[in-house]
Amino acid sequence: MSELPGDLQYTSDHEWLRREEDGNVTVGITDHAQSALGDLVYVELPEVNQEVENGGDMAVVESVKAASDVYAPIGGTVVAVNDALSDDPEAINNDPYGEGWIVKLEPSGDEGELLSPDAYQALLDDIDS
């Protein structure tokens, strides 16, 4: 198991968040999530300017096996989507914390509890055991 990036926050739904310097938040799914999903073949992205609620539907990632919802880890407005994923969904498999980012949100302040790297690692350890 690879080490989790220490500069990110996580959710129990296996998403990660990066607080950017401009105040926006980049969101993707974790290495654990991409590994569990298997080879990704399609990503359904939200529209730019779409508003999402904390915990609401935000995107769908589809692997050869199944479709999975990606929930908004915080509330906000979609300011950018990773269009490159429409031609290369496997970027999420290959680089989940980098090229495989999914959306950038401008936070609305609608946030719940997020997990630190240590807390998320503990959750993964629980799943594995």
């Binding site: 298997g38 399609y42 359904e44 589809e62 050869v64 096996k65 479709a67 429409s86």
Partner: protein, 363 residues
């Protein structure tokens, strides 16, 4: 408590992601389902299919029994080892299971039925066999490996006892033979050439290891499903079940109507359905928009009605999404599928989608 095949340790050693499949701990993939899929289309892969149920039938009236039990007609079989694909129907014409029957001789047959339907199949077989005095023996002590792909036979041949090797290589498609206490058949569920090899459980790990050493790629249930979908081979429980007839499942070709005086279970119901007409279509679909077709999605045929996707997924060979679907009767080749509330365009295509490594549809 899930069951394990004799190859469980091999799967774990090969890095399998293990899932519960009909009560069995089975490998879903060994890292990448897509790469396993491509390996079978372009080279060779091996699947553990030991969870499938092998049943041997013996009795003076075994042939008569199977001619009554099965919708296809074992009277077509006269060469030892020849296989026949067929449905086993209930009185209503619904499909209890689909299976392969191998002809050994007029008093001996071997059936390979699905794992998930094992108990009801055995119960049905035993019930129907009573009046035909036919012995039903489940062969749980046997394991089965499917070696599939254009290089499969060549790479697997050295594993076959030298005494039987040439004969095994000479097997025609859909024929099998005994090779000592092994059984080798040129059958499969991928749309590629290859063998299914039945061996005593204790010999399965060594055969598996030798195949891997020969360059055959271990392949899981995930790849098995996308391969069979591309080949437009039905999956029991998805594409047909006890509630639908073979005529509405793309399996009309497996029903032997002749001779007309052969009585088989479900015949009357099928004849009634055929006479009434308006039989639903069972078709292949290609998604023209971006997205992925999935099981149970709603298909909308404008002006005619609605149907349902029975098996849908992404085709690694084509790079597009494909599906099998049961749709209303009618003459049309364009429909739409409801994916999360959006209607996307799909085209009805002639199956198979892929066969022997080649894309067979216009994309």
């Amino acid at each position: 408590m899930t069951k394990k095949t004799p190859l469980f340790d091999q799967h774990v050693a090969a890095g399998a992601r293990i899932v519960d499949f009909g009560g069995w701990d089975m490998p879903l993939h060994y890292g990448s389902q897509k790469e396993e899929h491509h390996a079978v289309r372009q080279h060779a892969g091996v699947f553990d299919v030991s969870h499938m149920t092998i049943v041997d039938l013996a009795g003076e009236r075994a042939r008569e029994f199977l001619r009554y039990l099965l919708a296809n007609d074992v009277a077509k079989l006269s060469v030892s080892g020849k296989a026949l694909y067929t449905c086993m129907l209930n009185e209503q014409g619904g499909v209890i299971d689909d299976l392969i029957v191998y002809y050994i001789d007029d008093t001996h047959y071997r059936l390979v039925v699905n794992a998930a339907t094992r108990e009801k199949d055995l119960a049905w077989l035993r019930k129907q066999a009573e009046q035909f005095d036919t012995r039903i023996s489940e062969r749980a002590e046997l394991a089965m490996l499917a070696v599939q792909g254009p290089k499969a036979r060549e790479l697997a041949a050295p594993c076959i006892d030298a005494e039987f090797r040439d004969a095994a290589l000479d097997l025609k498609p859909f024929h099998g033979m005994d090779a000592g206490d092994w059984f080798v058949a040129r059958t499969g569920y991928t749309g590629e050439d290859g063998w299914e090899i039945v061996v005593p459980a204790a010999e399965a790990p060594k055969l598996w290891d030798r195949l891997l050493a020969a360059g055959v790629r271990p392949s899981g249930l995930g790849a098995r499903d996308t391969l069979r979908l591309e080949a437009a081979m039905n999956l029991y429980g998805n594409d047909m079940d006890e509630g639908v007839s073979p005529l509405e499942s793309g399996l009309g070709w497996t029903v032997a109507w002749e001779p007309a005086d052969r009585d088989f279970i479900g015949r009357a119901a099928l004849e009634k359905q055929r006479a009434e007409g308006n039989v639903r279509r069972f078709v292949g679909l290609l998604l023209e928009d971006k997205g992925v077709l999935r099981d149970h999605q709603r298909v909308v045929v404008e002006g005619i009605g609605e149907g349902e996707i029975t098996s849908g997924g992404f085709s690694p060979t084509i790079g597009r999404s494909i599906a099998l679907a049961r749709l209303p009767a009618g003459d049309y080749d364009r429909t739409q599928v409801d994916i999360r509330g959006k209607l996307l365009n799909v085209r009805v295509v002639k199956t198979p989608f892929v066969r022997n490594g080649e894309i067979r549809i216009d994309v």
